[in-house]
């Protein structure tokens, strides 16, 4: 019988780090992330976790400390949110260029100004071009399981890239749910010690990240993309091994009643899990509705998205984020994924729930009502005071 704990999303991240036997943690407090590192600092003190905890003076330094420790061959963890993630931006690139499998929890929080602490995805999606793998969770079990899988994927020598586990502020970070805990022996068998191909090693000295001319820089970027390309299979393998050992089944996307669906809603994180109830209501009314929840935003699950959406008559994309001057960020990715397909269903781009505004079951059924009556548009603002 597996142990269960009632955990907030934040503490699910902390326990994920414990189960993954992280060796160096460095972090800086920010609401709504702070509980992640509060619990970890307790655990480092009481012996639950044998790790060095560097309590730095900024998020920029938190990432730099993880980068240094990772380059020295240690398994590293940090967590942040919004402004903190933005401050890290330079070092996010550094972790990628250094091919360092740092794992980080990011609690989605809208960007200031004005000051806000509630959920929105613009913070993490603004980092989509840095080269971090990104996975978006919709339950605390998924948060906890994703940490262990993240190290398995990121540390794979074919990938060697950092990875971000993303969860909604408050809807997950501060919401308590039942979480089935992973047996430590099984976790250790699933995730062996970090054994990098290259590290800072006085017995085998190398220089990392030195001045590189146009003769070589492009090849290093090519290799980063190759790492991303290869990560699809690595992710699938990690997920299927996870299923066989721990019984829980994860894909790069989650499909809900999509097989025969005419109208498919695409979304991420907790808004998408709320959407399942909307789908049930619509199905009861005879609407052939389905839901595609994107878990991996990087690498983007092109194959899964095309496979699921190609026979739909309408695609509705729900974005709790905004790229001003462009629109919803998921919408853009989904649209580009479908462009070369033979069957190109019309795609609606909905913006909703910014700055933590509630997305209810009814809000989501309204999207289907809107699409029934209107032509597709790239940006459709819902529930906004214009």
């Amino acid at each position: 019988m597996s142990t269960q704990k009632v955990l907030m999303g934040n503490h699910a991240l902390s326990w994920g780090a414990v189960t993954s036997r992280v060796q160096v943690i460095s972090a800086y407090p920010i609401t709504p992330q702070t509980q992640v590192v509060e619990l970890l600092s307790e655990m480092c003190t009481d012996g639950t976790l044998d790790a060095e905890f560097i309590k730095v003076e900024s998020e920029h330094s938190a990432m730099a400390a993880c980068i240094g420790a990772s380059a020295a061959g240690a398994r590293t963890f940090t967590a942040t949110s919004a402004q903190g993630l933005a401050l890290m931006h330079e070092m996010l690139h550094w972790a990628v260029g250094g091919r360092l499998p740092v794992v980080m929890g990011n609690i989605n929080r809208a960007m200031a100004p004005p000051w806000t602490i509630w959920t929105e995805q613009t913070d993490s999606l603004s980092q989509r071009d840095t080269g971090w793998l990104q996975v978006y969770a919709s339950s605390n079990q998924e948060v906890y399981d994703s940490v262990l899988m993240a190290y398995k994927i990121a540390e794979n020598r074919k990938v060697s890239l950092p990875m971000m586990i993303v969860l909604d502020a408050f809807f997950l970070s501060h919401t308590s749910e039942n979480v089935i805990m992973i047996d430590q022996n099984k976790a250790d068998a699933y995730l062996p010690k970090y054994d990098p191909e290259f590290k800072l090693d006085v017995k085998n000295p190398h220089t990392f990240g030195g001045l590189t001319t146009p003769d070589w820089y492009m090849e290093l970027r090519y290799n980063i993309q190759k790492g991303m390309d290869d990560s699809y299979q690595v992710i699938r393998d990690a997920q299927s091994e996870f299923k066989s050992v721990f019984g829980r089944d994860y894909g790069m996307v989650e499909e809900y009643k999509c097989e025969d669906a005419d109208v498919i809603l695409v979304g991420m994180a907790t808004a998408a899990s709320t959407g399942k109830e909307s789908i049930d209501i619509l199905r009861n009314k005879g609407v052939k509705a389905g839901l595609l929840r994107i878990r991996y935003f990087r690498p983007f699950p092109f194959e899964d998205v095309r496979r699921v959406l190609k026979n739909a008559k309408q695609i509705l994309v729900l974005d709790r984020n905004l790229s001003p001057g462009l629109g919803g960020i998921t919408f853009q990715e989904v649209k580009s994924a479908m462009y070369n397909e033979k069957n190109k269903p019309p795609i609606y781009g909905f913006i909703m729930g910014l700055g933590g505004r509630d997305i209810t079951v009814e809000s989501i059924t309204n999207l289907f009502e809107h699409a029934k009556k209107n032509d597709p548009q790239d940006i459709i603002w819902m529930e906004v005071k214009k």
Binding site: V24, G68, D201, T207
Partner: protein, 295 residues
């Protein structure tokens, strides 16, 4: 007492430093004493270029190039990493220029000093952003020309007193050193190697192109700066115990700053009054240091 400097070179010939580079000389001397069980972290600085380019590297120990403002914290991360995953006795070194230390890196530096990270932090101070072409930093002395403080309007502000800022963190060991006095530097390194916690070294490192001096004058100029107390040599233990260690106290009595100033193109525009003002400042600071050292 004569100190023997270890002979083993940990810097390869053929690096990309300018002729007469004080920064190159400084790292060469430091690595000889710290030895092979050392990992270096460089932020953006002259040494980012001196070391390379990829796939070449001039140093024979592991080296991590990091972002401009992160030398101290990246090296602290390296130390935590070797502690958990390798040999905990490996020495972690942040090696930064004055811009990366006095200016953009001071936040991470203050953080690492406050946490008393078990590491070395070295600033090789050439008193401006030399790698990008001689722009003023907060380590540039008052009156100096740089490409952002033209001769019509040379730097108006005094050099930031960084050593006092670090001393206020009460770190176990701080030393000033100068490339013209490798024995003094070596002696201080030997001492610091035995100390656990944060060790800060401020090394005076002339830059011939930036200071507009002849490459063959690097050591001569560096020596003058110590003799005339523009850059006195001293140690601070636990943020409060000051020890002055001038190499030739008798000879160094009342050496004026004139010759040092007049020998450098970056000060060529200065008038007699300006030089007198510098002298007054140097004298005042020297008296203060003597008081702190209770001499």
């Amino acid at each position: 007492m004569i100190y023997t400097i270890p002979q083993k070179e940990l810097i390869n010939p053929g690096h990309l430093a300018c002729q007469g580079c004080g920064g190159a000389l400084a790292l060469r001397t430091v690595l000889k004493t710290l030895g092979e069980n050392t990992i270096l972290t460089f932020p953006a600085c002259c040494w980012s270029v001196i070391d390379g380019p990829f796939p070449y590297s001039a140093v024979k120990v592991p080296l991590f190039h990091t972002a401009f403002e992160t030398a101290a914290v990246t090296a602290a991360g390296v130390k935590a990493g070797v502690k958990k995953a390798q040999d905990p006795n490996t020495i972690s070194v942040a090696w930064a220029g004055d811009g990366g230390t006095f200016d953009i890196g001071i936040q991470a530096l203050s953080g690492a000093a406050e946490r008393n990270e078990d590491m070395f932090y070295f600033v090789y101070d050439n008193e401006a952003y030399m790698n990008t072409g001689v722009q003023r930093s907060s380590a540039t002395p008052k009156g100096a020309w740089t490409t952002t403080t033209p001769t019509q309007s040379p730097k108006k502000e005094r050099k930031k007193d960084l050593v006092s800022i670090i001393a206020a963190h009460a770190v176990p060991y701080i030393a000033t050193a100068c490339v013209a006095y490798p024995e003094d530097l070596t002696k201080k390194l030997e001492k610091a190697k035995k100390i656990k916690g944060f060790k800060f070294f401020h090394i005076f490192a002339p830059c011939p192109p930036g200071w507009k001096i002849n490459p063959q004058d690097t050591i001569r100029i560096a020596k003058m700066a110590v003799e005339n107390k523009m850059f006195p040599l001293f140690e601070i233990e636990d943020g409060e115990k000051y020890t002055i260690n001038m190499p030739n106290p008798k000879k160094e009595k009342n050496v004026p700053v004139n010759e040092y100033i007049l020998k450098q193109g970056r000060f060529r525009h200065l008038k007699e009054d300006d030089i007198n003002e510098i002298q007054a400042f140097v004298d005042k600071r020297w008296e203060k240091l003597k008081k702190l050292a209770e001499i």
